[in-house]
């Protein structure tokens, strides 16, 4: 089936089981939130899907097996991700950051040629993430929220079909959160979106489905209401089952 399919994924670091047998199916067009306490293995799961962490099991996206491929090959299959703490190329300008993401298909002969104009897809991405005005600034000097938008812009020009976003609204103001949430909704029309997030209010408003992870395993899955009503989830989050 199309979309992201994870089967029995395991990641072990020096004997420590970070992800212990995760099964996950995210159909295309979904906006899936992954939540869970610190150390639940959420980021490691994304690291494994994108090839940055060694894993066993099976991961397919649109029927392409991802495990065992090199990181940049996985990216070229349309799997895009962001990192925690808004990670961009700090010493490059906004435009150059986007150029890097847009340019992987460029041939070796054009590498020494200067770009004469901004390609339309880069221009569109700049407008979508509202960074046109600051395109020549060094990305390291942007405020936190704009860096996170730049990350999303990079995924857009990279032609990512699957967006794996690691805490995309951490540290954002209310207005920025709303705008980001709406952007995620727009994205889901043509893309599959997976979001790791701690902000419950944000989750309630923008998630279409939720997966709860705990201690390297999937604890619960379903709609926001189903997950909130699940006693196992309440136990993990509150330490004891809530009396109804």
């Amino acid at each position: 089936m199309s979309g992201l399919v994870v089967r029995d994924l395991q990641v072990v670091f020096d004997g420590f089981v970070a992800v212990g047998g995760v099964d996950l199916t995210v159909p295309s067009g979904d906006v899936r939130f992954i939540i869970g306490p610190n150390g639940a293995g959420k980021t490691t799961l994304i690291d494994a899907i994108t090839g940055l962490a060694r894993a066993t099991g099976a991961v397919t996206f649109d029927e392409h097996e991802l495990l065992g491929r090199k990181v940049h090959k996985i990216a070229r299959l349309g799997v895009g991700r962001t990192f925690q703490n808004s990670t961009v190329f700090e010493e490059l300008t906004v435009l150059q950051n986007l150029d890097i993401a847009a340019g992987w298909h460029r041939g070796p002969l054009t590498l020494l040629r200067r770009r004469s104009s901004v390609p339309p897809e880069v221009q569109n991405a700049l407008e979508t993430v509202r960074l046109t005005a600051v395109r020549d600034q060094l990305a390291g000097t942007l405020p936190h929220g704009q860096k996170q938008w730049l990350e999303i812009g990079m995924l857009l020009v990279q032609n990512a079909k699957l967006f794996l976003l690691d805490e995309p609204v951490a540290g954002m103001s209310h207005e920025e959160r709303d705008a980001t949430g709406e952007l995620l909704g727009e994205l889901s029309r043509e893309h599959t979106v997976v979001v790791i997030e701690h902000d419950m209010d944000f989750l309630r408003r923008f998630a279409r489905s939720v997966t709860v992870m705990h201690a390297g395993k999937v604890l619960s899955e379903g709609t926001v209401a189903q997950v909130q009503a699940d006693p196992k989830v309440q136990e993990v989050y509150l330490g004891h089952p809530v009396e109804a």
Binding site: T50, L52, V71, H72, G80, F83, T87, L92, G103, W104
Partner: protein, 295 residues
Amino acid sequence: MTLVLSQLFTGISIGAVLLLIALGLSLTFGQMNVINMAHGELIMAGAYTVYMLQKVIGGAGFSLLVALPVAFVVAGLMGVLIEVLLIRRLYARPLDTLLVTWGVSLLLQQAARDLFGAPNVQTRAPSALTGSIHLTDDLAISSSRVFILALALIAVAAVTVVLKTTPLGRRIRAVMQNRDLAAVSGLATGRVDRLTFFIGSGLAGIAGVALTLIGPIGPTMGTNIIVNAFLVVVVGGIGQLKGTVIVAFVLGIVQSMVEYTTTVSVASVIVFVVIVAFLQWRPQGLFTLRTRSLA
């Protein structure tokens, strides 16, 4: 006054040599954080390229001109070979890299002894570069030193243009700033590493060509100069080209001024003490990356 000017120019020319040697390192060590102890032997390879070309071609001037691109490619390919066979298997293991490349450096020195003989060899400098340029009646500067200075400045300009304005340079900087982010953005980081290493090593070859104008060519020429080149890159700030340029010239001038008032060995001691003191005060070097991120 003449004396000061003449020492100043000597200092600048020492600085230019340092700069040429350090420029390649500022890519392989400064940008990629690879400690390649065999960098000096790549310089040696460039110098022996001039020696071989003079045997084949004959004319000193023409063979020097041909040697510049040939030495770049020869040293560059040797560097890529070292990168593909050894260094890429040792990324994130700096101590092992240091030991292994030191071994490579010994191997290459011995190979040079076997191929060209243990004694130093000489090349002929082209006639245009043997004389001096008289600025005033008693102030003369040797034309080979002027040539080296020009070569160093052109090399710095070329590296700057490639790094700052071309897509290739953007990729090199992107991979060095954040390897994981570059890879998930779809860049083939392994290929970028090889290209960076090719350019850095090729610049060592160019430095080797320049060194034939001011000294003999021998199997140990690389080890004699490589320490100073590492110092320049560290003091200038890792990955900071402008730091490398400034520090190369400052070190050259300090060296020549102190050398004049004392002796060569005392000058080296003083320069080392100054560097140690400077690094105590600014361990990150002259320039560092500016960023607002907390990471």
